[in-house]
């Protein structure tokens, strides 16, 4: 499949693709080939996992997702309404796929590589249970989990009026 070939080639290019460059490969190199081996269009392989997303306005979307996809892929494919999600398209060059997990889920996620922490640390509204969605692969045990993004500040205008009335 053309997509699989693309991403396997991509995997040798990594964000820093100097010749002879030797370091631990970032997460997406392991997850993307698995993604392409799941036939997500047919939905026949991989079990369905229920995930709840809460967006910046507090709106909740509940979707069934396939094991092996990254949470970035899920947001895109399932059309979850989260503003500006995944700007760099999963290449560890931004922090816009930032998701906040429940502590019990966060503790069971695979540890972060340096490259993820580097970008995560720039994310708006960072918490102790934050991860980048493009680096987290859906697994069966995540069934029923809720992830959310930082809530937007409500009613800025109200705040302003309070200030100006001083």
């Amino acid at each position: 499949m053309a997509f699989r070939k693309c991403v396997l080639l991509r995997s040798s290019l990594a964000p820093m693709c100097y010749p002879g460059f030797m370091r631990t490969q970032p997460r997406f190199l392991h997850t993307v080939p698995r993604l392409s081996s799941q036939s997500q269009e047919n939905g026949s392989s991989g079990s369905k996992v229920l995930v709840h997303f809460v967006n910046q306005s507090g709106v909740k979307s509940s979707v069934f997702v396939t094991e092996g996809e990254t949470l970035l892929d899920v947001v895109i494919k399932k059309n979850i309404d989260i503003s500006g999600f995944g700007a760099c398209e999963g290449t560890l060059a931004c922090s816009t796929c930032h998701l906040i997990f429940e502590e019990s889920v966060y503790d069971k996620l695979e540890p972060m590589l340096d490259e993820e922490v580097d970008m995560l640390d720039l994310a708006y509204g960072l918490t102790k249970t934050s991860r980048l969605g493009c680096q987290v692969t859906v697994e069966r045990w995540m069934d029923g989990m809720t992830v959310h993004v930082p809530q937007e500040i409500k009613d800025q205008r109200g705040k302003q009026e309070a200030v100006s009335s001083k």
Binding site: G84, C88, Q160
Partner: protein, 489 residues
């Protein structure tokens, strides 16, 4: 980088599904054909076709199903600093172009390139034609060091140097002389590190990027072997982020050359630092310790506690041969640590000096309030001060700092303010406004012809075609005239 292009295309098509279904809920039969019917929805005009402009447009289109957005851009080509600022070896950062392209192709959005707002059309004329006007024109000037000798040959602003290797038409005649051994960069933000990295990166890596061919040739003949990146305060105040520092530390065929004296007391301070600062500082300390093999010819290093006071000229008085730095000590604590001169001076011999101390916005129209001290348009949450119907987003709103994601959030905030004002009646969208046809008519009278998005796509195709024969994703056109010729062919 064919592989990158292929992956970007695949990624782009995945993003397309995402973006399109989110944004186009408008029923075509009701809205009518774009530009022909008198669409009664709110009409918004955005000045500037970079990330701020596109992200503001995106959010407006999504939030109001009857709103239409027109983006005006000075150059024939869109995308602003994503095209002209992001380093050539950071192609992933440029993936945002895919989502911007979708926005430009949205049926309620149109892009108008080759329009110089402030010169070809005024802000007042735009305000008459649209319900709301958003200033998203960024920062095209730069902060000067304000020291003697700044105008000597061999001294450049980072903005111009970056513009040069990224093909910004106004920088194509820069011709920086790379025949010296040492280059000194003033400033220690991500732009400074980008410049250092491009100066020292192996050509093998650069030649497969979209760096301009003339920059590539100049770098191939470069004698620069040592790059010093100078900051007025200490290691704990450095402005760059860890990803960029990591790239310098891992740069092949180079070694780090730091002064351990600059790091006195830093190890002890580590434990109290928040994680991002702590990790950044730890990586720097590692680079100080692992000095690397002296036999490695190329080196780079930070120099702290130093402020430029004069550029020194050679015998002919025309060309920079060195820079005089004042040594500082730090006063104060926490966020308000500042540099105070000690009275000591230090001269560094160098033939290339790049000042990377900040971009700067400029006023483009006398009708728009402008704060010359902060060099931004004064505003509250994106609403321009004392000027109903005028908004701003991006660097012109909050100053020239931050990455694309910062500008994205900022632009979403401005869009939200506009929507709020529409819903509260502060913006009267019931009155009919002519929109783009009125402006196009004005421009035609003034002999200004615009570049529409499909015409940019012709320029894009030509650049990709030229790049292909060179093994690069694109070879950028450097001449506005050439761009226009192809756009209108």
């Amino acid at each position: 980088m064919k592989m990158m292009t292929m992956v970007n295309l695949v990624r782009g098509s995945v993003m397309k599904i995402h973006g399109l279904s989110r944004v186009s809920l408008c029923v075509p039969a009701v809205c009518g054909v774009r530009g022909l019917s008198s669409t009664s929805g709110p009409k918004v005009c955005i000045v500037g076709g970079g990330p701020a402009g596109f992200y503001t447009a995106q959010q407006l289109l999504k939030a109001r199903q009857e709103a239409s957005v027109d983006i005006y851009e000075k150059l024939p080509v869109p995308f602003g600093l994503v095209r002209f600022g992001v380093a050539p070896d950071h192609p992933e950062v440029k993936n945002v172009i895919n989502t911007f392209t979708q926005t430009a192709q949205h049926e309620r959005c149109s892009f108008h390139g080759n329009v110089n707002v402030g010169k070809d059309v005024t802000i007042d004329e735009l305000r008459q034609a649209y319900h709301a006007v958003v200033l998203s024109y960024g920062a095209e000037g730069n902060r000067s060091m304000g020291i003697p000798g700044e105008g000597l040959a061999g001294v450049f602003s980072a903005k111009d140097f970056v513009g040069w290797y990224n093909g910004l038409p106004s920088n194509k005649e820069l011709h920086p002389d790379l025949g010296c051994e040492t280059a000194v960069i003033l400033g220690q933000g991500n732009v400074a590190l980008d410049v250092a990295r491009i100066l020292l990166a192996p050509l093998d890596m650069l030649k497969e990027t979209d760096i301009t061919q003339n920059a590539l040739e100049a770098l191939a003949g470069s004698k620069v072997r040592r790059v010093l990146i100078v900051g007025r305060r200490g290691p704990l105040q450095i402005a760059c982020t860890i990803k960029e520092l990591r790239e310098m530390v891992n740069l092949p065929n180079t070694r780090a050359d730091m002064l351990s004296d600059d790091f006195k007391g830093i190890a002890e301070a580590l434990k109290d630092l928040p994680r991002p600062r702590k990790r950044l500082t730890e990586l720097m300390m590692k680079a100080v310790k692992e000095k690397g093999d002296d036999k490695v010819e190329k080196c780079w290093g930070f120099r702290f506690f130093r402020s430029p006071v004069e550029v020194l000229a050679g015998a002919d008085g025309k060309r920079a041969t060195g820079i005089r730095l004042a040594l500082n000590k730090l006063e104060g604590s926490g966020e308000s640590v500042r540099a105070e001169p000690t009275g000591q001076l230090e001269d560094v011999g160098c033939g290339l000096i790049i000042s990377s101390i900040g971009y700067k916005s400029i006023p483009i129209d006398p009708a728009v309030p402008f704060d010359p001290r902060k060099a931004i348009v004064p505003n509250e949450m994106g609403r321009v001060q004392d000027t109903a119907g005028l908004y701003c987003s991006g660097w012109v709103k909050r100053g020239p700092t931050g990455v694309i994601a910062t500008t994205m959030n900022d632009s979403f905030d401005t869009a939200r303010a506009i929507i709020q004002d529409m819903e509260a009646g502060k913006l009267d969208v019931s009155v009919s406004k002519p929109g783009a046809p009125a402006i196009t008519a004005l421009l035609q009278k003034r002999d200004v012809r615009t570049v529409l998005f499909p015409q940019w796509e012709k320029i894009n195709a030509e650049e990709e075609k030229r790049g292909k024969s060179l093994g690069k994703p694109r070879e950028k056109l450097l001449d506005v005239d050439k761009m226009l010729k192809i756009a209108w062919s």
